[in-house]
Symmetry: C2
């Protein structure tokens, strides 16, 4: 019976895309609906997002940000105020043309992002240097009219937070841009156990309307990259388009300098593809809605269930503990919670009770240990902490093993054919080379890492002198 | 200077509608944008909603509900599956007709509510009695194409939670419907200090597609009613339309019985119009983001600011305390926090420090008391508790004073002309009478209260025998 359950998930190495689809559905993260390209986020998937949201929201508040809520719709004329921005987004928006029975005089866009609304609001409420900085954030849904979609990774609608800030100077804006990138990096590394590569996007890959875009890039199990969070410095471009000015201390009118930054439900895709395995999801303890699932063995025998419930209450003080006392067979339960990636399974049956012990089974390594009852309050949290660290280190090792350095375009192509991953190579800075590399290999520039290395003297594409090392990869 | 600030708010008795608009903007709750009928919820307004949301979410989880997230868009054909439902909502929805440059083959509705999506999902995941009950909730934005809008009370888009549950039997569904109505009533009475009237909606006023709708109705300062939360029992109507069946314990196919219930940002409108006064907002302590605002007096004098910050830290253990140490004059600060309805202002200056005391000023009553420093940890929480209770009692008194009993249609009309409020009157049960009363007086049936009284023998409108007492009012 156990095997039958496992068989439902395609092996990762056989068909990674199918494995992913199997996991998101079998682990009860999502369901499909008749709405093309959208997903239903089921209770388990939503609990993951809720935990990420709470963790990030706390950090946003600690760094002085306030939550607001902007309208869902943007009038077409407002979207058009900043030229690069509308060019970037217009091809992929949903248009509302009718309200009730009436045709609208002006079409409305369902927000793909809210820069224009924040700018309009800022123009309204910022007057003096005393009003700065404005550090606003919103938790919201946004829509982008994607042709090809996949749960969490690319959907018509997704959930995110978008931060929008206004500052007196360009230096402050730049500081904020990098501060928030680091907050995202922290969430990924310390909370989700996902190592990140930090860097700057090229001109080609930067956000529509930004002066510069910074990114955290993560590497999935299959060697593809996932852009996992971005932070943009707008300079005063939007401020000029929307006329957001303040009176400085000397009584002079100045334009504000702005940033925006976003983190989305997409990160759940990264969580799945970084930590998952052939038995399903693997959830790092810090984000796990349930860290320990108690599975009673021979629960019909006298005293077993009472004992298990007492344990749940006792251990609830040191971890997030749940119990499955349903009449399903233990083997079924084991499979279900392995599929869902619950970090630790606690087994307890009549013999264990007799011996004053329980069995702890780790989801990530499969390791099982017997723990005396009186040591549980110490051993269990220690095990959770160890799992968290092990998952991070495993992901870091995987990334290191799949980061390659090449000095020529031929080596670049050969590497991609042999094994995908992050490819470090020098670049001249010319977009023509970036385009050519993408066209010929399918790999895109992920970022110019903050930690630069001098690999060779020349661009791998055109052989002109090169100063920038770019990390390239095929990406989700 | 102080007076100038206060002058910005129109007196309630002079023009209540204008007073309301003044308060929502001057207390920094909202801002307008170029999106017709939508509002920007500013940090202070959003903090109020966030507190309500957290309080309600905790109660939803305590009663066994799980959060999910459904798509924003609903295909036209899906909306049409339940006939009463589509008839009720189609006239007031926003239509998405284009995605990017393409015209869609099928129009999409921006969700006005999500029954149809939940039903489709339930049909997909409910198979056996073991899958029941399903107790789902979602926090989301919804859109209704309203012609006339007012911040919080009626906006094109609003934020809410919508609960959707499926049960094995009609009894269980009915139990759930009333349980959730009571949860809403609790939030209003115990948390927001707003007394509610509980009852059932008439056929005319019930939700599109529901078998029965229950409501909590609240009375505003101006004697108008506000529907503040509704809970619907759908019976098996939606289940039949969407084919949501389960195999019962005897192996027979049965339709599920469903409920839905919603609570929205509208409640912030109630909060304003129940507790507010001519100086602005009055926020009950339990929901107040800041319960106590410390305003240092003569803060340039040595030791005052240090002392005030120490107080903030110390009192932070017993209340949500903030401090305004800006260089604005105390009078300005007093006005600002009165406008924002902060429950208690704590004043502390050099003389207070010398005398080991502070001044506590209540926002609601204006009362000021001197409190010795060593009694603050006791007196401050007690004062907050007292304010909470006083606000509730004041609102309850106001409702009682403005609840009228009439035995004839003439008395009904006379009462409405003299003073608005809840009007109790007997009704025959015929919709024609309900229509006529609305047409001739503008008052609508708010509900048939659970606590019925036998006021007279006959319907006030048609004089036929009447068994139901209805509470009528003009409503927002």
């Amino acid at each position: 019976m156990a095997k039958q359950f496992v068989k439902d998930v395609t092996a990762m190495d056989e068909d990674f895309a199918q494995w992913y689809t199997d996991v998101v559905t079998k682990a009860d993260l999502i369901d499909y609906s008749s709405v093309r390209g959208s997903m239903i986020i089921r209770p388990y998937g939503y609990a993951l997002w809720d935990n990420i949201k709470n963790e990030l929201d706390t950090k946003l508040k600690e760094t002085g940000h306030e939550n607001v809520y902007m309208p869902l719709f943007i009038p077409e004329s407002l979207l058009q105020k900043e030229k690069d921005h509308v060019k970037g987004f217009a091809p992929e928006v949903a248009w509302v043309t009718h309200g009730g029975d009436e045709k609208l005089q002006e079409r409305l866009v369902v927000r793909p992002t809210s820069e224009t609304l924040f700018c309009e609001h800022y123009a309204n409420i910022i007057h003096s240097y005393r009003d700065l900085p404005k550090l606003y954030n919103q938790w919201a849904n946004v829509v982008r009219w994607e042709k090809t979609t996949r749960p969490f990774l690319r959907t018509l609608e997704f959930l995110w937070q978008e931060g929008h800030t206004a500052h007196a100077t360009q230096e402050e804006a730049q500081e904020e841009t990098l501060r928030m990138l680091n907050v995202y990096a922290q969430i990924c590394e310390e909370y989700l156990a996902i190592p990140v590569l930090k860097g700057q996007k090229t001109e080609k890959e930067k956000f529509a309307g930004a002066e510069s875009t910074y990114t955290i890039e993560t590497l999935m199990h299959d060697g593809k990259a996932l852009q996992s969070g971005t932070s943009h410095n707008f300079g005063d471009g939007f401020a000029r388009a929307f006329d957001i000015k303040y009176l400085d201390k000397e009584g002079k009118q100045q334009f504000v300098h702005q940033t925006s930054w976003g983190f989305t439900t997409r990160i759940i895709g990264a969580l799945i593809m970084v930590h998952g395995d052939d038995r399903g999801l693997v959830v790092p303890p810090r984000i796990a809605p349930t860290q320990v699932m108690i599975v009673p063995i021979a629960q019909h025998k006298e005293g077993v269930l009472d004992f298990a419930y007492d344990l749940k209450e006792r251990l609830g003080k040191v971890a997030r503990v749940n119990i499955d006392a349903s009449d399903k067979k233990p083997g079924w339960k084991f499979n279900e919670y392995e599929m869902k990636g619950i970090p630790v399974r606690l087994e307890v049956g009549p013999k264990d009770i007799e011996n004053n012990q329980v069995v702890l089974a780790r989801r990530d390594s499969g390791e099982k240990i017997i723990v005396p009852l009186n040591e549980l309050e110490v051993k269990l949290p220690a095990m959770l902490e160890e799992i968290q660290n092990d998952l991070y280190n495993k992901a870091l090792n995987h990334r290191e093993e799949n980061t390659f350095t090449v000095q020529t375009f031929d080596a670049f192509k050969a590497q991609l054919e042999e094994r995908q991953g992050f490819i470090k190579a020098m670049w001249c800075g010319d977009q023509a080379c970036e385009d050519k590399i993408k066209e010929e290999t399918g790999a895109t520039s992920r970022c110019m890492p903050f930690e630069q290395e001098h690999i060779s003297e020349t661009c791998i594409c055109c052989s002109k002198p090169a100063e920038k090392m770019v990390v390239w990869a095929k990406a989700y």
